[in-house]
């Protein structure tokens, strides 16, 4: 047997490879989205796939998210495996009826006789100067809906493996991709592989505090952890990877070890994933191990501003993570 081949790919190349391998393996897999064909996608993720797989499998849709999402749900019910791309995650607001009331519900309402093997991809997050209607992080909205699975892969390796796992999954899986990650490079095996949905991963082991982060915040948390390490603060960084179903065990075990918890995420702080992580800890046996208040660092309670300085200030940055964790560890919070 040949040794497995691993190359350096960007996050968006890893997505494209996953999509191609899924289409190669299963003729029922096809792609839908606005400008994903000849144009190659708003973020050039689908690239030249239309030339390789044809317009029937790399399908441009009209600018009508609700109708297109309805087509995708219908195709999934009829035995296909559609992978639907939103141009910006913000536009998913138009398709919520199909996502929340149809895709998430049908399996339950029909007694498990059918399922909706739909994958939706959401280019999300701020930092691109695209202002309030193109920069949101709405993953917590969908993670609130039973019947949906919601993932936020943070590396090229994870996005390929989780996308393939999502396409395998019999239920609707919402894949949130931070736009700033598309150009990020990382080692990706050439062969298809799966990264399980619902499993968090410890990216950096530590003993002073558990930082549970999602998506791009994982990288900022890791940077912060390196800076804090120079001050004798040994942070453990957990990449949550999946919002629903959430990996309680990894979080609880980590907090039992460190006694402190910080949640770092880009979505608006209030009623965001940080609240859920905090609640999981305080409801669990990890409560008795807490030695400091729980810290939540999330997005500002405001639309994402266009002004680049304000845009940066509206979501947690590495400096903020360092400062706030330092304050917590020195007993000032």
């Amino acid at each position: 047997m040949n040794a497995p081949i691993t190359r350096e790919l960007t996050y968006s190349q890893a997505i494209q490879e996953a999509l191609a391998q899924a289409m190669d393996a299963d003729p029922t897999v096809f792609l839908m989205g606005e400008d994903i064909g000849v144009y190659g996608g708003a973020f050039q993720v689908t690239g030249d796939l239309v030339h390789r797989y044809g317009e029937d499998r790399v399908m441009d849709t009209p600018i009508a998210e609700l109708g297109a999402a309805g087509v995708a749900v219908g195709a999934a019910l009829a035995g296909c495996k559609p992978v639907f791309e939103f141009q910006f995650s913000d536009f998913s607001a138009l398709a919520l009826e199909q996502i929340v009331n149809q895709a998430a519900k049908i399996r339950f309402m029909l007694g498990g006789k059918v399922s909706v093997p739909l994958v939706m991809r959401f280019p999300a997050g701020s930092g691109t100067g695209a202002a309030a209607q193109h920069s949101q992080s709405l993953e917590a909205w969908l993670a609130h809906v039973p019947g949906l699975k919601v993932v936020q892969p943070s590396t090229p390796y994870d996005i390929k493996g989780m996308l393939l796992a999502a396409i395998d999954d019999p239920d609707p899986v919402m894949v949130f991709e931070h736009k700033l990650l598309y150009k990020m490079k990382g080692d990706v095996p050439a062969e298809p592989y799966r990264v399980p949905i619902g499993k968090a991963i410890v990216r950096r082991a530590g003993s002073s505090i558990s930082i549970v982060a999602t998506s791009i915040m994982v990288h900022r948390a890791l940077e912060a952890a390196e800076i804090l390490a120079g001050e004798g603060i040994d942070a453990e960084v957990i990449d949550l990877r999946t919002l629903r179903p959430i990996d309680r065990e990894t979080i609880i075990e980590s907090v039992k070890k460190t006694g402190r918890l910080a949640c770092v995420y880009e979505g608006v702080k209030t009623l965001g994933i940080g609240a859920e992580i905090s609640a999981i800890v305080t409801e669990s046996e990890a409560f008795d191990y807490l030695d400091a208040p729980i810290l939540r660092l999330g997005g500002a309670e405001a639309p994402i501003p266009y002004n680049p300085v304000l845009e940066k200030a509206a979501v947690p940055q590495t400096d903020l993570i360092v400062t706030r964790v330092r304050e917590l560890l020195s007993g000032r919070i």
Partner: protein, 396 residues
């Protein structure tokens, strides 16, 4: 809804205040506007008024407690209201943050009590460790915000028996540092370590001034003037004559002040204040005398307002009443000068070729060399001496 009584912010850079005295107790009826407690900040004592009518209750900060600005220290209940209508954490002295250090040194001084000592603030982990060792959390000083006990505090307490044996050997009393002492320590350390001081001394002939003062004070129905009042006026007029010295250093540039505001050092129990006689160069001796008297009286009662001691372009420190002949003072930053004045004493002086008995007062001017050079300082002190020695000029 019960009305919260909070510790107000009375000074720009104030983060916390000490409750020096409660004038009411739980259950007292209060009217809006009535003084209910007094707080001591770094600089002054202020009265706090009731924010509404009702019955006072839930007083959570004892006298002497250091409370962060904005924290509720009591509630005012309306008809039929009781504590069940509120759900807020009780205020706990922030001073407890210093406790672990104090605990080791001297347990009886450590301010470990919280507002509601039956329910100490502690992290879940601290509670768990205390529980497993059978420790009483109320006996542990918390190092966290508002006295919160962390696991580390409990661990320190577990090791405490060893520390207590050290305590027996302590042969001093530890005096807690209050706001005023801390301010004095910080400002004067800053001054003596960052301001390049130099000192100029001169003796002033006091014969004419003392004679003039005796004449003025012999007039009935006039406020009696002190020697110090003349000195304030002379210092102000001298700075008016040498305006380059009425200045202070700043990173943007040297600020040359338009008015001469003389800070007057007033010793009080436990420290000192420097209330300001503003535009002293334009005031009469009588006005200065009345003003200094009022400021000094209010300083001794710790009743000065922050505006009474803010600013000042020079300071006068007079220790003549203690029989001190001469001394050098530390500049009160950001001012550039301070005049240290000793007692007017009878001493041998040379007049022509003879030795006679004269009355002299030694003065030492401390200057910030960044702003005032030697020759400029000398001109200032010399102008001051000329005014003291020709005191009629202080009257016109």
């Amino acid at each position: 809804m019960p009305i919260e009584v909070i510790l107000p912010k009375v000074d720009m850079d104030m983060a916390a205040g000490t409750i020096s005295r409660w004038l009411v107790k739980d259950g007292d009826r209060v009217k809006k506007g009535a003084t209910i407690f007094e707080i001591e900040t770094d600089k002054s004592t202020m009265e706090v008024e009731a924010p509404g009518d009702g019955t006072i209750g839930q007083i959570s900060a004892k006298e002497g407690a250091v409370v962060p600005v904005g924290v509720a220290v009591a509630f005012i209940f309306g008809e039929g209201e009781d504590a069940s209508a509120i759900r807020l954490p009780s205020a706990v002295p922030a001073k407890a943050a210093e406790a672990p250090r104090l605990l080791v040194a001297s347990a009886e001084i450590a301010p470990i009590s919280s507002g509601d000592s039956s329910k100490p603030r502690a992290t879940p982990l601290a509670r768990r460790i205390a529980r497993s060792h059978g420790l009483d959390l109320t006996a542990i000083a918390g190092s966290g915000p508002r006295g919160r006990i962390s696991a580390n505090d409990v661990q320190l307490q577990l090791k405490a028996p060893a520390a207590k044996s050290v305590q027996a050997n302590i042969d001093y009393d530890l005096v807690p540092i209050d706001g005023m002492r801390r301010t004095i320590a910080e400002r004067l350390t800053l001054s003596k370590t960052t301001v390049p001081h130099f000192y100029l001394s001169a003796a002033c002939d006091m014969e004419k001034l003392l004679k003039l003062r005796a004449e003025i004070n012999a007039v009935e129905n006039l406020l009696k003037l002190s020697v110090n009042d003349f000195i304030v006026k002379a210092l102000a007029l001298a700075l008016r004559q040498i305006p380059e010295a009425n200045a202070s250093w700043s990173d943007e540039g040297i600020r040359r002040h338009r008015a001469v505001d003389v800070s007057v050092a007033v010793a009080v129990e436990g420290g000192l204040y420097t209330p300001v006689v503003r535009a002293a160069e334009s005031k009469t001796l009588g006005q200065i005398g009345a003003e200094v008297k009022d400021l000094a009286a209010r300083a001794k009662d710790r009743r000065l307002q922050p505006s009474d001691f803010a600013g000042g372009t020079t300071t006068l420190s007079n220790l003549g009443m203690y029989g001190i002949e001469s001394f050098a003072a530390i500049i009160n930053p950001p001012q550039a000068t301070i005049l240290a004045v000793g007692a007017a004493t009878r001493r041998p002086v040379v007049v022509g070729e003879e030795i006679r008995i004269g009355t002299r007062m030694d003065c030492t001017l401390s200057c910030d060399h960044r702003v005032v050079d030697g020759a400029l300082g000398a001109q200032l002190l010399s102008a001051f001496r000329d005014l003291i020695e020709a005191p009629l000029r202080l009257l016109v």
